[in-house]
């Protein structure tokens, strides 16, 4: 059976060039970058070269990039780092209802510690209202954190505009760009962001490495205290091979970006059009234009998402419902619910997130096998009673 992977927002394969770049750092150059002898010197330089490559992806300076172990760590570092560093100035944080659990759980934790959190609503397209954002700001607001692109729907938020609002009011602005990186251009010089999160394994790099852009002058309380690594901002011996892989993945992402955007949006449109043509009662979730090129979040009315995924899996197709972090949970997607989508439709959603290696043939195969699967599941559904297919 052919394996088809439509779950690139959960994680991406490590591409060969990336793996090859990492190998020497397991086999020969395994020294500690902090060591001053022969075993360490080469690794230090390699880590700094990789940093430059990741910086190019964001257009920032090497001093502004902190390597971490994941997008989640970067999000924690940014939010707790500002909360603790600025707690004398205020205790109010603004975010949205549709953030990744890395943000939401961190905010929930801070709420227990006495911080006030405003969770902005989203409309049916998944977007926030900038007037509501402005209205939510109080003299105690120290941080705004709004994601760049939603992981479930691909919806893109107006980062530059939000940053402008934050900047005018002297509020720190963080954005979780884990899903945006490598899929659309990011230029921190043009955006008004102070902090920005990315993750290696979403851009064809390895798992276990992430980064936090922290604009020059932004003071953060460290999350992980320890040695002098990352200029005293993040202790712990560096994940050297991981960082090298991340650097290589960033280099490739920059190189291929335009090509990828064209390729992915072509495939994604073909997928959506094909399914909508072949199956009734199908809804695409999220703003039709303000979206990542690779993400299709589709509700199949009257049937439940996980059972669709199992059927797809039996055909070799990997997709997901909601974020990988929450699949295996029984809650309907908090993102779709926040968008006002009914519980049944929220439970009936499937996320197809496309990537580099996907082909027209794969899309067409999906469009071919999906209708009978949906039909069979609907025939078993007590909710489908009144409808005919």
């Amino acid at each position: 059976m052919n394996k088809i992977y439509f779950d690139h927002n959960a994680t991406t394969p490590v591409i060969d060039e990336v793996f090859e770049a990492m190998v020497p750092f397991y086999k020969e150059q395994w020294g500690n970058p902090s060591s001053i002898h022969w075993a360490g010197r080469g690794t230090r330089k390699a880590v700094e070269d990789a940093r430059e490559n990741v910086c190019k992806l964001l257009n920032c300076a090497p001093l502004e990039l902190i390597f971490t172990s994941s997008g989640t760590e970067s999000d924690n570092h940014a939010i707790k780092g500002i909360a603790y560093a600025k707690k004398d100035k205020g205790n109010h944080i603004i975010t949205t209802k549709v953030e990744h659990p890395a943000i939401l759980s961190t905010c929930k934790h801070l709420a227990k510690e006495g911080f006030e959190i405003t969770y902005l609503e989203v409309d049916k397209d998944g977007l926030i209202d900038l007037e509501q954002l402005k209205a939510a700001i109080t003299p105690k607001t120290i941080l705004i954190t709004v994601m760049f692109a939603n992981n479930e729907t691909g919806v893109l938020f107006p980062i530059k505009e939000i940053g402008q609002i934050a900047k005018e009011r002297g509020i720190t602005f963080h954005t979780d760009a884990v899903q945006a990186a490598g899929k659309i251009p990011i230029n921190v010089q043009e955006l008004n962001v102070d902090l920005l999160t990315i993750s290696g394994h979403k851009i064809y790099g390895p798992k276990g490495v992430g980064a936090l852009f922290a604009k020059r002058g932004v003071r953060l309380t460290p999350l992980i205290h320890g040695g002098h690594q990352e200029r005293n901002r993040r202790g712990g011996t560096e994940n050297v091979a991981g960082i090298i892989g991340f650097g290589k993945a960033a280099e490739i992402a920059i190189r291929d970006l335009d090509k990828e955007i064209a390729h992915l949006s072509m495939l994604r449109n073909r997928l959506e059009t094909g399914l909508k043509e072949k199956i009734q009662h199908v809804y695409v979730n999220g703003h039709p234009e303000k979206r990542l090129p690779n993400t299709a979040n589709i509700s199949f009315e009257f049937v439940e998402g996980e059972s669709l995924l199992l059927n797809l899996d039996m055909k070799g197709i990997a997709a997901s419902s909601g974020s990988a972090c929450t699949s295996g949970s029984l809650e309907p997607s908090h993102v779709l619910v926040a968008m006002g989508i009914s519980l049944e439709l929220a439970h009936g959603s499937v996320r197809f997130s496309l990537g580099k290696s996907n082909t027209v043939e794969e899309i067409d195969y999906l469009i071919e096998i999906m209708p009978p699967i949906v039909e069979r599941m609907r025939s078993m559904s007590p909710l489908f009673a009144g409808h005919k297919f």
Partner: protein, 124 residues
Amino acid sequence: MYSEKVMDHFSNPRNVGEIEEASGTGMVGNPACGDIMKLTIKIENNVITDVKFKTFGCGAAIATSSMVTELVKGKGLDDAEKISNNTVAEALDGLPPVKMHCSNLAADALHAAIEDYRKKLETK
């Protein structure tokens, strides 16, 4: 994640459908947790002679629905009432922990159908 038995019942569910003029109907679950089960039973001389289900839900929900129909077909009402959600889960060689609460409602649907049948009897 799922046992082979679960996957078997999920891919080849037994007794899908709805009995017209059923002796009893049980509907449990709610959209919030993503699982809704409808069980219809035919009862003759206190024996369940036919049973069918329709389910909106995840793999576990469908497999437990299918399994419960197999377990009760031909059983007397007293025996059928002894079947619990746990009985069903065990018959499927277990379910993932996260699924034990919410998606394991098929026995509840059965009990609801039997109760419905008893109520109808009383009001006759």
